[in-house]
């Protein structure tokens, strides 16, 4: 018999308690995995989309952590275009704007103001109707999920911040959250937001040398950051590589921090429930553990047995929790409220973090009971029959 077989047998002795403990722990480990997974997925989908569009640099105004609060003068964009090595520049004004449903309720939707020559049009798929063209007024495109949730298609009217717009196209983007957004001509968004001549940011494609693409990007990044406006004052642009841009987006930072906070709370709850289960289990087995000591087990082996039990409980919870988290993210992705923002699935890295968390729960939650068990006196155990 293997030692671990013996440990497993101890756990099967009280199947209901074991199952309940595993389920309880799976809930805490699973919610941690789901939350971290979602935040990771959102970041990924943004990074991926930028990379897939061939975006090398994302430019916002310096010192603004909130992307929506960023403001850049359009004139600067022409200056940026003049920098040698810059291939393309794609400005946008991104705003959260109220769209009214037919029922009268309204939702806040991410609206992207895109100029007609934006390179974004290259890789969104027009499912019906057409893309926005130069000179369009009062026209809008809807992302697929937004179009479905509002029940609006080509030819329908939508009310955006009180103004009527005609839907001319429905698009699908591989960037999940863009499917939940609407696209309007840039100048319409600037007018509605009373920010004429401004954009919230722009993305850039640059020429890269074959052998050292990173340094080409870096060289241009520094030139953009050093730009001055017509009066010679610093333009205060902040150009970032796509990865560091995603890392710095404050909303994502908040999501990440929340996910970790919930995880730590979940871990505490997990440790307490593990303590409860294992202390009970040790108390029940007072005599048995004393016998084990009497027939030759040193304290160390008793500790190994109890910790083995708690770690196995925790690992089972990790497996169950990972499966649950997987399912939960897929179900969540179906909800209209989050539709388009969240992808189903959990990255391997997060599943592994969850497993590591579980092992810690097992070790922390098992160590006090193990200590208690190791201190049991064999003489006490064999005295009373």
């Amino acid at each position: 018999m293997y030692f671990v077989t013996f440990v497993l047998k101890n756990l099967t002795r009280r199947p209901v308690r074991t199952a309940l403990t595993v389920i309880g722990l799976a809930v805490s480990v699973g919610s941690m995995i789901a939350l971290l997974g979602i935040s990771e997925n959102v970041e990924h989908s943004i990074t991926d989309s930028l990379a897939r569009r061939g975006v090398d640099l994302v430019v916002t105004s310096a010192g603004k952590t909130d992307q929506l609060a960023s403001e850049i003068d359009e004139k600067l964009i022409d200056q940026v275009r003049q920098i040698p090595g810059v291939k393309e520049v794609s400005p946008a004004m991104v705003e959260l704007i109220e769209i009214t449903r037919d029922s009268g309720t309204s939702i806040n939707v991410l609206v992207q103001g895109w100029p007609a020559d934006n390179f974004v049009y290259e890789d969104i798929k027009i499912l019906s109707g057409r893309r926005l063209l130069a000179g369009d007024h009062g026209k809008a495109m809807l992302g697929l999920t937004l179009s479905e949730s509002m029940g609006k298609g080509v030819g329908d009217k939508v009310t955006i911040q009180g103004e009527p717009f005609e839907v001319v196209g429905v698009y699908q983007s591989f960037v999940v959250f863009e499917n939940g957004s609407a696209a309007l001509p840039l100048d319409e968004v600037q007018r509605m937001m009373a920010r004429p001549g401004k954009v919230t940011g722009f993305s850039m494609r640059v020429e890269k040398s074959h052998n050292d693409p990173n340094s080409s990007v870096e060289a241009i990044r520094q030139q953009v950051n050093a730009l001055t406006d017509s009066t010679g004052k610093p333009a205060k642009l902040s150009a970032q590589t796509t990865q560091s841009y995603v890392d710095s987006v404050s909303q994502l930072k908040v999501v990440r921090a929340m996910a970790w906070m919930v995880s730590v709370i979940g871990m505490l709850i997990g440790v307490i429930s593990m303590l409860n289960t294992m202390v009970m289990s040790v108390l029940e087995r007072t005599q048995e553990i004393g016998i084990l000591r009497a027939i030759g087990w040193p304290r160390r082996r008793v500790v190994k047995m109890i910790l083995g039990e708690s770690v196995i409980l925790a690992l089972s919870a990790a497996v169950l929790g990972t499966i649950g988290a997987f399912a939960a993210t897929y179900v969540l992705a179906l909800f209209p409220k989050v539709n388009g923002f969240i992808e189903g699935g959990v990255p391997l890295k997060v599943a592994m973090e969850g497993t590591a968390f579980a092992v810690l729960i097992g070790l922390f939650g098992g160590s006090y009971p193990a200590f208690r068990a190791a201190r049991l006196l064999p003489t006490e155990a064999i005295r009373h029959v």
Binding site: M1, K9, N10, I295, G296, P298, V385
Partner: protein
Amino acid sequence: MSENPKDFLLYADQLHKQYPDGQVRALGGVSLGIKEAEYTAITGPSGCGKSTLLNVIGALDRPDKGEVFFRGAPLGNQRDLDRFRARQIGFVFQSFFLLPTLTSLENVQIPMFEGALGSRERTRKAEELLGLVGMSHRAGHRPGQLSVGERQRIALARSLANDPVLLLADEPTGNLDSHNATLVLDLLTNLRRDRRLSLLIVTHSPDVAARADRVIRMRDGQIVAN
């Protein structure tokens, strides 16, 4: 010290023990030497300190005063005590103390985790020991499915798991009918003959005492006859 601890397999020297809450002296200066392959029986009225003596000799408990010598050397610290108990001592109790969820074969392997054997060797050795006590046909049964006599034979097999040199038994036949008691007693004496195992048995049974090389009588924590 009238005798030399070095002359014995195990020597208990002037053991004193008083339980914290008790008024009585459980042991009041007990000295006792055990030789290799010797069969010693301890008798005496209830509460005279027999179990206490056995526990101290088996390193389950420490004396307040006095020392236990094994092959001439004092038992030493906790680590040594654990090791001594695991390697040199086999314990058999009146109420068996088998683990209820394990089969006979598994119960016998419990002490072996501290040894050097791998999983397969442990199983093989356990099978061997079950054969020795005539319980091979009950290898897959749990204690609840066995008669009390059979349980004590499993417990006996378990006590031999790490090839001890000294077997300590506290009323091993106390819960058995005369038929099973004889069976267990036969096994014990055979073991002593075949394995040169020393036996130290606490008993109320005249039959068990009658087969011993010598009988030690205790009263009020002291040896009154040897």
